[in-house]
Amino acid sequence: MNAAYTRYLLLSLLVFVANVQAAEPQTYQQAFELNRAMYGKGHLFTWQGQEFSTDHPEELDAQTPATRDKAEAMLHAAQVLNQRASELEYAWRMTAGLLEQAEQALRAGEFRQCMNLAAQAHYQARMSIQQAEYNQQHWRDAVPQ
């Protein structure tokens, strides 16, 4: 057994004493993510006295009535955002494929399908930009001193 493995075994023994607890969220973003993480989508939670859903904004958008205009608008927004991720050299591998599928769905007149795919692509592009910005700030934490 190598050292890392033994370390984890020891760690696992230690944590018998302290099992996992969640830290209190400090911001809306943290509250949203913790609730989404614990309950998945379609769950309601309260933050500072107000009720919110754990659905991503993109998912809510994809639930509005399916029309050609709406599908086109969502697809376009996702393409623009992923273009920005590419410019940051942070685009993800699967996002372009999702956009392509969404385009095909649009051409086939499957607007709901197009909206769902565009929502996922938009979410991924948004997260990849967030990842780029976060890492721009925090990458030094990983450098050995």
């Binding site: 190598n2 890392a4 493995y5 984890y8 075994l9 760690l11 696992s12 944590v15 018998f16 099992n19 996992v20 607890q21 969640a22 993510e33 913790l34 989404r36 993480a37 614990m38 309950y39 998945g40 989508k41 993800w92 996922q120 979410y123 991924q124 997260m127 925090h138 934490d141 990983a142």
Partner: protein, 120 residues
């Protein structure tokens, strides 16, 4: 009168039983999916980093701790779900990918893999 009551009782029992088997069947299906998520490279590929004492899980990696004692580690199953959804919340530098936050797995697949590892 008595007969009617008796029949209602039987009907209710039958309904409960089917509901239970439907539930059990759903849960079994969820666990089957969860195992696939754990093992398959195109899904969760958890086995790349975690050993688990499922005989189907061969040649596991050890970047992460072996998956065992989940019920003790996570009396609240929701917190286990949160670890799978976004491991960076506890440790921003972790190797473990944020499966939910980065939409690597669907929410249903996350429910499934959590159900599967909660047995170990």
């Amino acid at each position: 009168m008595l007969k009617v009551r008796w029949m209602t009782f039987v009907a209710v029992c039958a309904a409960l039983l089917t509901a239970n088997t439907v539930l059990a069947r759903d849960e079994a299906a969820l666990i089957v999916l969860g195992q696939a998520v754990f093992l398959e490279q195109s899904k969760g590929n958890c086995i790349a980093c975690h050993a688990i004492s499922d005989p189907q899980a061969q040649l596991a990696g050890n970047q992460g701790p072996p998956i065992f004692n989940m019920k003790l580690r996570y009396p609240d199953k929701r917190l286990l779900r949160a670890q799978v959804w976004d491991a960076t919340r506890n440790n921003p530098l972790t190797l473990m990918p944020p499966f939910g936050k980065h939409w690597i797995l669907s929410e249903h697949e996350i429910d499934a893999v959590v159900e599967y590892i909660y047995q170990y």
